[in-house]
Symmetry: C2
Subunit: 239 residues, 2 copies
């Protein structure tokens, strides 16, 4: 039951169309993940060229979103999917909206690499990178869960966000202390703070995608429900 | 052509269902608008009780989103809408996702009213309120445009966002200067800065909703297109 066989859920003549859209989502996810990874490498290695490459590539993600969105609307109009097929199309529509915004956040993060930092400031850049790695791992795992429509993996990513939130809060405190100690550094530190916020938001969006996977597999909307109710949905038998 | 007659676009037996969902979106929009307005009043009048009321009411918005979302999926499954009917359902699905997140931002803004500020700090609270009023007007106007599926009004809101962005940038500079001058005030000022950011995001989300209206009326996805191409779509005849 753990790893749902997606093809089992796709029936009828539009199997190929649905598979093609699903593959496009995976390509889009791969690109978004690459953008975030490159943004973090650019910060770590002070690679301004790589940061600019990230900034120049966002339009590709936008174009993919529009293309997949259109394909989904076409499928609904032409194929009139029902039950789990319809849930898949809806889950895809929502997932690509989150992926597109993760791409936008990646752009904001890349901008930090365009700044230069002194030795003292390197310290909180390390904390930023740690948060970045945590969130990158969430993104990688949720895309993997999406590829296999793996309920358990999606639930694990959902749980992982609490840890990212704690890291984000610790970093925020660290940055505020730094600003109070050296007010001249504020504008530069603010950019780090915005990036940290962007990373925290990416974590939230990975959580959203995990919820769409659970919605597809279980047919139940688990947004805004209590942790207990969420666990019950995930652990319960498929209805 | 200015004010599209929505009922003209809704044909067949599921007219009532579609109208009912549209009305629910308007109720949800009304509640989201009230939350933002209350959050701003709470800041202006230092009304902590009102701020807490805003924080306690967010769950209603979440519940409405889930309910409308379900109704839309039901309509697609049962009624198999096509053409402009399908575009309406898709536009609704996307609009409620943005409305729900505007509600979340409203919560963050309300939290500022739980703080107390000294006389010096009142100054930037006024700037925050000005930005708040600007964004509240965008939200009001885009909901109004949604109610009438008014293409021109949607386009105007879309254009209005540039002004909100300028106000936001001026406020950010003001707040950073203040932090540099009085580092002890940083934690408190940071909260104002987060609220300002939330307001700026609400402006972006109003822009998104304007784009969904244009998508419904014109059948064309205008996200990520150039301003010229957007204007051409809006000014051109309905295809």
């Amino acid at each position: 039951m753990d790893k749902m066989n997606v093809s089992k859920h796709i029936s009828g003549k539009f199997n190929d169309e649905l598979e093609s859209v699903r593959n496009k989502v995976l390509s889009m996810g791969g690109l978004v993940e690459k953008q975030l990874r490159d943004a973090l490498i650019a910060i770590e290695t002070s690679d301004q060229e790589l940061a600019e490459h990230v900034l120049r590539s966002d339009h590709k993600i936008n174009a993919m979103e529009v293309q997949i969105d259109e394909a989904c609307v076409q499928i609904i109009a032409k194929r009139q999917p029902a039950a789990s097929d319809l849930r898949l199309v809806i889950a895809i529509l929502k997932t690509i909206a989150d992926l597109e915004r993760i791409g936008d956040e990646g752009e904001r993060i890349a901008k930090v690499a365009l700044e230069s930092f002194n030795n003292d400031q390197q310290e909180f850049l390390v904390s930023l990178e740690n948060l970045g790695q945590q969130v990158l791992s969430m993104l990688h795992r949720v895309l993997d869960a999406f590829a296999r429509m793996d309920l358990d993996a999606a639930y694990e990513v959902h749980q992982q966000d609490a840890q990212a939130d704690r890291q984000y809060e610790a970093l925020t405190r660290q940055l505020m202390t730094y600003m109070m100690e050296d007010p001249r550094g504020i504008p530069k530190v603010m950019n780090v703070l915005w990036s940290a916020r962007s990373l925290e938001r990416i974590g939230d969006r990975c959580q959203n995608i995990a919820e769409y996977i659970i919605f597809f597999v279980k047919g139940k909307d688990v947004r805004h429900v209590s942790p207990e109710s969420m666990e019950q949905t995930v652990r319960g038998r498929t209805s």
